[in-house]
């Protein structure tokens, strides 16, 4: 089994660990060796915590040998974390020079929950700097490559988490999703990614990009694993005042997949001019398969969708401009070597510490909040946000879930859109409205277009996350697209 351990699902690994068939150390070593093998090609990680992980694994094994049976649902399961999630004692730098070398003195709530469930933290994954980007390329350190085509981007901003799962370096990973940053890279790398309802998962210890939009979520090979991790990380947390204090109902998968009685809406605005033919074909195919499963499918219209992107690119940068003000060189992170006074220290520190995309968004946000512009931009954007939410709520009077492409395009070539921010922003057009409305959504693989993965997005009602996962599971069960794996040559070199 040793050669394929890294291919196994979280559910399977947990079962094998609990049954004593695989030790946590064996699992961890297998995963570490896979990482060593493919990381030079993929570049999914910023930090691999081999010693920490082996230490945890040894302790888990010792507990199990001592007869302990009180293990959580992720016991023995290796997991990778996006590097904007604080890990006590493990560097967390958000792929920014600004935080290079910063070691948090505390764990994010989701990390506490993962540790308590027996998960083994394998490392911290690469990302767009401070989660700002849609390709992973704004990382200050290195790019992450799409395991399906190493010349292409894996999507972003949770680029490393999606690529690490797709490349079978870890069975599951955590990402964060502010405008699509879990779902979009999941779609582009052919894995399952979930953005929970805003307020289901604590944000405490997650380095904020846009506080009213950010949500942590799981990435995995299949819906069961994603659900398993979601169940662990979701739940009440008093340290996050925007947490809803709700525990998701237990979700069980099994039996004959059926969507009888499920009403699905197809919002036509998500199939607009920017969509690639190949993507459109896969999504239409998926819709037919959902119908075959018994779902009642009907086209609908969400006309405010076209304003969502503009509203998002006001609200998210506005919040970011304040959230990133703390990176001032006073207490932690980068501080310029030479400064003449406090203000010089601020401007040099921030000029040196932040990359161009982060600076662009801080400037947009600062401008949008400025006296005299607030009403025209921020306030108007919030009004649009309300309209987007109301429109979704009206749609959910008729539908249990909405079905759209996750992205209108497949993975593009590295560097292709780096100098064209607007075209980069458009890649998130299908995912952004969901964040504005705080809804849950999941992206599941639905096949390939020109050899590149396509993602199907299912959008659900507030706190109907588990219901959404049930629909995704039924689809996955009959299509098996999630079982496709990229062929990363064992020699680990780049493809020609």
């Amino acid at each position: 089994m040793a050669g394929i351990i890294h291919k196994l699902s979280a559910a399977r690994l947990n079962r094998l660990f609990l049954g004593g068939e695989l030790s946590a150390v064996e699992i961890t070593e297998s995963v570490l060796s896979r990482i060593a093998e493919v990381e030079p090609a993929v570049g999914a990680f910023l930090t691999v915590t081999a010693e920490h992980a082996l230490d945890r694994a040894r302790k888990l094994d010792a507990r199990r040998k001592a007869g302990d049976t009180e293990f959580g649902p992720l016991a023995g399961v290796p997991i990778a974390l996006k590097d904007n999630i604080c890990t006590c004692g493990i560097e967390t730098n958000c792929a920014s020079r600004m935080l290079k070398g910063w070691v948090p003195p505390y764990d994010a709530t989701v990390v506490e929950r993962l540790r308590a469930s027996g998960a083994i933290i394998i490392g911290k994954t690469n990302m767009d700097e401070f989660a700002m980007g849609s390709s992973g390329e704004t990382s200050a350190f290195h790019v992450t490559r799409n395991p399906w085509d190493l010349d292409r981007i894996p999507g972003g901003s949770s680029s490393g988490s999606a690529a690490a799962v797709a490349a079978e370096e870890v069975p599951v990973a955590l990402g964060t999703d502010t405008g699509g940053s879990i779902r979009q890279p999941a779609a582009l790398t052919g894995v399952v990614g979930m953005k929970p309802t805003y307020g289901y998962v604590s944000r405490y210890g997650v380095v904020a990009f846009a506080s009213s939009l950010d949500q942590v979520g799981p990435i995995g090979h299949d819906v069961e694993d994603v659900a398993r991790v979601f169940q662990v990380i979701a739940g009440p947390d008093r340290r996050d005042s925007t947490n809803a204090g709700r525990t998701p109902p237990e979700v069980k998968f099994g039996g004959e997949p059926s969507l009888k009685g499920v009403r699905l809406g197809i919002p036509r605005e998500y199939f607009g001019s920017g969509i690639e033919d190949g993507v459109k074909a896969r999504i239409e195919e998926a819709i037919r398969q959902l119908e075959d499963l018994g779902a009642a499918v009907e086209e609908c219209s969400l006309p405010t969708t076209e304003y969502a992107l503009s509203a998002y690119y006001i609200i998210a940068p506005a919040e970011a401009s304040a959230n990133l003000a703390r990176f001032d060189g006073v207490r932690y992170g980068h501080r310029t070597a030479q400064a003449n006074g406090l203000h010089d220290m601020y401007s040099k520190t921030r000029a040196e510490g932040f990359g161009p995309e982060v600076k662009r968004r801080i400037m947009i946000g600062t401008y949008a909040l400025s006296s005299g512009y607030y009403d025209a931009y921020y306030k108007k954007a919030q009004q649009v946000r309300t309209l987007v939410l109301q429109e979704f709520q009206r749609a959910f009077e008729r539908f249990d879930a909405l079905v759209t492409p996750t992205t209108p395009v497949t993975a593009w070539r590295l560097g292709e859109k780096l100098d064209d921010p607007l075209s980069m922003y458009l890649a998130d057009i299908c995912t952004i409205p969901v964040n504005l409305a705080g809804l849950p959504a999941v992206s599941v693989p639905c096949g390939f277009a020109d050899g590149l993965p396509v993602g199907l997005q299912l959008i659900g009602k507030h706190f109907a996350d588990t219901q959404l996962l049930q629909i995704a599971w039924a689809y996955q069960k009959v299509t098996k697209h999630h079982e496709a794996r990229p062929n990363l040559a064992p020699k680990g070199g780049r493809q020609a």
Binding site: C86, R326, D328
Partner: protein, 490 residues
């Protein structure tokens, strides 16, 4: 000149709430701890940390609002006020912009002449304090480096903003005293200016007397004591008037008060005013306050200075001004009421006089706080009884009082030990009277010539000889007798 001008003043007062813990985290809220010991990821604004509203801070802010006759916002929210400074860890302060917790209140002040003025409170909002900078040098410009202590970062503050209803430095001083007194009674802060738990910014403008339009205002920062507020207003008022009388125009600007030099200096002009880019705090949900919440807080409010003052005036006949002084501290009022209970209501006015003129003076001189009253009500009443019985004179009583303060002994003990009993022995006093009359023929001649004050002068001499212990009426009678005897002799 200045009668032609009217001064218009509004105050912004920051008060630190004395909650157990800070406003967004559970670090201890205490003054004077070792630097950077009461800190955590939240109040240091470490990446990923999030604020959680302290329920006690919310309750205290509402309590302060009710004590200041404010209305309470049923739906309130927090906003980020963005600016960079080394003592502000997040790069923004969590404050309240357009929906402050409390609004539309007032404070009534009582002036020396007994008249009252109502100063309206525009709003009270809840926010966090910043840390404290320590400059390695005389001031920030001369320092090689600065150190930051974040113990204070995240301490809850309320900012109380008045309407521009204050018309003089005296009124501003009285307002602050009264505000301090109400806040202290309500138990939400110990309002110690010397520990920085109450700080004040002053908005001031002048306009021609009788005008209803406001002049251009300046905002004075860094005004850190009650007396500094009075000095700063006097200075700034004169500065404005001087500009206007020369035909100039006052510029709208923010100025810093330098108390040691007694001047204000330009901090920034209107053009350079900071844009705080307020927007709703996405990390905190709006605050919804029910009628029941408000009534619960209101029911727990203690009796406040105005009610105590009314009681002192109605039940004991004190003047408005005297009552306002005694009511200004809960301990003063309790002390007064105990003394009156011991001595009887008829003595209320006398007790108030002793308390205001002697006790308060001594306490001010010694820098004693209201919780350190050096004489018990029993001791004062005991002394008053000695006066009544004629054991000591009113004049001696002042000496006895001071000795009570110094030694803590009872009046009776002091009188015995020091031999301060009144001399009421006619023979003894008459002998002294005869001696002083005989020894001062020139003054005796004045008296004979009809100068009435000459007799009083002889009484003074007797007092001197008896170290103030002579009964003054008796002394006058015997001086008169001695003078008439002397005149008869000639």
């Amino acid at each position: 000149m200045s009668e032609r001008w009217e001064t218009v003043i509004g105050l912004e007062v920051h008060v630190e709430l004395s909650t157990e813990t800070k406003v967004w985290c559970s670090c201890k809220n205490e003054f004077g701890a070792e630097p950077n010991t009461n800190v955590c990821p939240v109040c240091l604004a470490l990446p990923g940390s999030l604020p959680v509203l302290n329920a006690q801070a919310l309750e205290y802010a509402i309590r302060a609002g009710l004590a200041l006759n404010c209305k309470i916002q049923r739906y309130s929210k927090f906003d980020r006020k963005n600016y960079f400074y080394a003592d502000l860890p997040a790069g923004y302060q969590i404050s309240q912009y357009d929906l402050p917790l409390c609004y539309d209140g007032y404070v009534d002040i009582t002036k020396k002449d007994g008249t009252t003025r109502r100063i309206r409170i525009k709003r009270i909002h809840l926010e966090n304090d910043a840390g404290k900078l320590l400059h390695a040098g005389d001031d920030v410009t001369a320092a090689d480096y600065s150190l930051v202590d974040f113990n204070r970062a995240g301490v809850p503050l309320i900012e109380i903003v008045t309407e521009p209803d204050i018309r003089s430095a005296e009124e501003a001083g009285l307002f602050l005293q009264k505000l301090r007194s109400i806040i202290k009674y309500s138990g939400v802060s110990d309002v110690k200016m010397e520990e920085g738990s109450m700080r004040c910014d002053v908005n001031i403008s002048v306009r021609p007397a009788g005008s209803s339009e406001f002049g251009v205002r300046s905002e004075l920062k860094n005004v850190n004591s009650f007396s500094a507020v009075v000095r700063a207003i006097e200075y700034e008022r004169k500065r404005h008037i001087a500009i206007l009388e020369e035909g100039g125009q006052v510029e709208q600007e923010t100025r810093s008060w330098r108390d040691a030099q007694g001047i204000s200096v330009l901090l920034r002009s209107k053009e350079d005013a900071e844009d705080y880019r307020y927007f709703p705090e996405p990390d905190l949900p709006p605050v919804v306050i029910s009628d029941a919440d408000i009534e619960r807080v209101r029911a727990a409010l203690p009796e406040l200075p105005d009610a105590v003052m009314a009681r002192l005036m109605n039940d004991y006949g004190l003047s408005a001004y005297d009552a306002s002084i005694i009511a200004s501290e809960r301990e003063f009022a309790q002390w007064f009421l105990q003394a009156v209970e011991l001595a009887g209501g008829g003595q209320a006015k006398t007790i108030a006089n002793w308390q205001i003129n002697e006790l308060n003076r001594v306490m001010n001189e010694k820098g004693l706080g209201p919780e350190q009253i050096p004489v018990t009500p029993e001791q004062l009443v005991g002394m008053l009884q000695l006066i009544d019985k004629g054991t000591i004179t009113g004049k001696i009583a002042k000496t006895v009082f001071e000795k009570m303060v110094e030694t803590g002994k009872d009046a009776e003990t002091i009188v015995k030990e020091e031999g301060l009993t009144q001399v009421a022995d006619e023979g003894e006093l008459l002998a002294i009277a005869r001696e002083v009359v005989a020894a001062n023929p020139k003054v005796f001649e004045d008296w004979k010539a009809g100068k009435q004050s000459a007799a009083q002068w002889f009484v003074g001499q007797i007092m001197k000889r008896t170290r103030g212990r002579a009964n003054p009426q008796l002394a006058l009678k015997l001086v008169t007798q001695a003078l008439e005897e002397q005149a008869a002799k000639e």
